[in-house]
């Protein structure tokens, strides 16, 4: 086994190295700079693999973050050639332009160092909007069925990996320090459609404090790696918030 696997593993390495990638990586904090590296281009290489190569073989001091490596944890998002992306699932060939890749930290979040950002503001807004399930006193009268409209609407936004890619893509986040951002609002919309939840009005009030700041740029939906559509979710919230405001219900942001 040993012999066979070693030989074969090596053929993997020996695959004709197509070319060197010209990689630029952001080094330092907010006031850092771009630095260039040459990384061998391999078949099946993701942007995360490029970053890993640099850290393992060229500059061990490079800081970056990842966990699951398969697009489930949302830890590895970076800005790749100007676009926020999940790097573990972004093939180099998808992102490189003429053999060049420029990798920086995510926008709209404080940079800790190099490619690692502090995601705390993103999560703190999530927490402050109380975007979480609130058990209801009594279960819904009608059981939830898989194909009812509310369930479908809830399902449409449920598979968020909280990667903050949408948050980085959104100008409204950059322009409004108090804008909760697409992911939080997307979560609130799922909760509003969850008939088991005991605080629909509370969620709507939380949404009402921020959803009007969405300018429907749709950059979030375009960038979301898992194919969610926060714009549509926010539109839904705006509709409900509008209705609630007209009926005199809106209490304004919860304290």
């Amino acid at each position: 086994m040993k012999r066979a696997c070693h030989r074969l593993a090596e053929t993997g390495y020996d695959e004709p190295v197509m070319a060197m990638l010209e990689v630029e990586i952001w080094r330092g904090g907010e006031d850092g700079a771009w630095r260039s590296y040459a990384v061998p281009h391999q078949a099946n290489q993701t942007v995360l693999d490029v970053v890993t190569h640099v850290q393992r073989h060229i500059d061990p001091s490079l800081a970056y973050r990842f966990a699951c490596r398969v697009g489930m944890c949302g830890s590895c998002a970076m800005t790749v050639n100007g676009r926020p992306r999940w790097t573990c699932r972004t093939h180099v060939s998808q992102a490189a332009r003429k053999g060049r890749v420029r990798i920086g930290p995510l926008r709209n979040l404080p940079v800790i160092r190099d490619l690692a950002v502090d995601m705390a503001p993103f999560f703190e807004k999530w927490r402050d909007a109380e975007a979480r399930f609130v058990p209801s006193k009594e279960p819904p009268e009608e059981p939830v069925r898989p194909d009812e409209p509310e369930r479908r609407a809830a399902d449409a936004g449920i598979e968020c990996i909280n990667c903050a890619v949408c948050y980085a893509a959104c100008d409204s986040v950059a322009w409004n320090p108090d804008y909760p951002g697409p992911a939080v609002l997307n979560r609130l919309w799922t909760l509003v459609n969850d008939r088991r939840d005991g605080d629909r009005d509370g969620h709507l009030d939380a949404a009402g404090a921020g959803c009007h700041l969405c300018r429907s740029h749709q950059e979030c939906a375009d960038a979301c790696p898992t194919g969610l559509n926060p714009t549509a979710a926010i539109a839904g919230l705006k509709r409900e918030v509008f209705r609630r405001a007209l009926s005199g219900g809106a209490r304004g942001p919860r304290q």
């Binding site: 409204s172 409004n176 009402g208 404090a209 959803c211 700041l213 509008f242 304004g252």
Partner: protein, 108 residues
């Protein structure tokens, strides 16, 4: 001011203005073909309850809509926030309202 209400007011005023502006644009395009004259405007509007209502409603809606919109732009691009901005925008709304009503009075 409650953001949700501001939002609702802006959308509501937009909904009110949309048909009015369509009408207005249509009339202008129609009227302008033979050149515009004060007589013409006045003959259409003077003493007309209908046009009075149309333009009155428009002025009112615009005075609500524009300041809220401008407030958003100034907050986002002008980095101006807080009570000062809100007061300025309220004043701007009143100005629009006053000028609009004055114009309305002139043509009625």
């Amino acid at each position: 001011m409650n953001e949700a209400w501001l939002f609702a007011a802006q959308r509501l005023s937009a909904m009110v203005m949309a048909p009015l502006v369509l009408l207005h644009l249509g009339v202008i395009l129609y009227a302008i073909r033979d050149g515009l004259s004060a007589d013409e405007i006045l003959s259409r509007t003077e003493g007309s309850l209908f046009w009075g209502a149309v333009y009155g409603l428009f002025v009112l809606a615009a005075a609500v809509h524009a300041p809220i919109g401008l407030r958003a732009v100034l907050r986002e691009w002008g980095r101006w926030r807080g009570a000062g901005l809100d007061i300025a925008m309220a004043l701007f709304g009143l100005l629009l309202l006053a000028l609009g009503l004055r114009a309305l009075a002139a043509v009625l």
